[in-house]
Amino acid sequence: MIDKELPTVAEAVADIFDGATVMIGGFGEAGSPIELIHALIDQGASGLTVVNNNAGSGEVGLAALLKSGGVSKLICSYPRTAGSRVFPDLYRSGRIELELVPQGTLSERIRAGGAGIPAFFTPTAVGTPLQDGKEIRTFDGRDYVMEHGLTADFALVKCSRADRHGNLVYNKTARNFGPVMATAAATTIVQASEIVDIGALDPEVVVTPGIFVSRVVGVAKPALESELVAREVSYP
């Protein structure tokens, strides 16, 4: 029988190893798998490369993971958040490497990684400093940058409902990077606000089919980054 459910977030992230590449879903706080991230901080893996659209806020969730010192490189489109000091401090003191990727190129690189496409061409960033060092090629008279697919050892994803096969549906704009990251990681670890019986999700509305999911853990009332930040919580 296929049962991808694990009882705790700690067990779900137990094998994330030093030096792993970890994709983390979320755009701002929407879709951020904060309990999985906190479990990863507790677990203590170091030298991680993290892929996320942002760099977190306050001192919880992604920002707390960065602050823990476990992340050596961030692949990201927008590491600037009002009021957050964690990433700027690490960046300015040279303690973290940043690979800045335009948001659409980032999401497409992740999709390509999950789709077995090693490289593709995009018009994004042509004529800008972010094309530096990349191959430029002309198709039909327009210039394009060659970008490479991006894969990961692990993906941490938050969804609203999951079943034991790992079929997922999301909540509103919390969907964002989750579905593509789930395809691009060797091991995709999901926290679901609710785990439902097999067959309870209509096959027409499943967003992430279970084939892309390795583990599911129920987190019934996930914390909200903005609420923790407003309460000035610092994790751990």
Binding site: Y78, P102, T173, R175, P179
Partner: protein, 220 residues
């Protein structure tokens, strides 16, 4: 004259309203963070415009009152928004299919500098201690069909933002078609900056003096 002293010229809402006037019925539109966000409030009567936000929503509605709403229903500026009837959610790669694939009719962005060739700089000053952050801006300028800019004509310290060549790192080259400022509406074509309309109480010479490139006057 201090540019902050906007006794004359257009207010932020005026600029947004003027930009909204140019958006046709039925358009699919992406609005950047800042003044561009105000455009959504000024859709002329009788038009239906569909707003796209790159974090995965087509059919974005206004922010909920009293900051209610769902913290997982946000726009690209991470502000809580709503979804209108006819809306749809999708993941990031699909969202940028809409952008890169040329399906967004109009994108209205803010700017740090716009050149007479339509080059846009709006993501970085290039300063070594700034945190570089590009978001979806480069994808939008490369993919949306028409790029327009809303911006104050000058910076807070009076430097022109309409220039011969951008000194800041580019977001995209030769992408901006029209600029709405507090002083004027300016098109960018093969001959550079072309005045389209002056804000009330503003004369051509004033705008010309605050533009760091040739500005062609209104045709007679």
């Amino acid at each position: 004259m201090s540019v902050d002293d906007n006794a004359v010229g257009w207010s932020r809402d005026d600029m947004a309203k003027r930009a909204a006037f140019d958006i046709p019925d039925g358009a699919y539109v992406n609005l950047g963070i800042g003044i561009p966000e105000l455009v959504a409030k000024h859709v002329p009567e009788g038009r239906e415009v569909v707003y796209h936000t790159e974090n995965g929503l087509l059919g974005m509605g206004p922010s909920p009152v009293d900051d209610e709403g769902d913290p997982e229903l946000i726009n690209a500026g991470k502000r809580r928004v709503t979804a209108v009837p006819g809306a749809s959610y999708f993941h990031h790669a699909d969202s940028f299919v809409m952008i890169r694939g040329g399906h967004i009719d109009i994108c209205v962005l803010g700017a740090m500098q716009v050149s007479e060739h339509g080059d846009l700089a709006n993501w970085s000053t290039g300063s070594p201690d700034s945190i570089p952050a590009v978001g979806g801006a480069m994808d939008l300028v490369a993919g949306a069909n028409t790029i327009r800019v809303i911006t104050q004509h000058c910076t807070r310290d009076g430097q022109p933002k309409l220039v011969e060549a951008c000194s800041y790192p580019l977001t995209g080259a030769a992408v901006v078609k029209r600029v709405y400022t507090d002083l004027a509406v300016v098109d960018i074509g093969a001959n550079g900056f072309q005045l389209v309309e002056l804000a009330p109480g503003i004369d051509f010479e004033h705008v010309r003096d605050l533009t760091a490139a040739e500005l062609r006057p209104l045709p007679n």
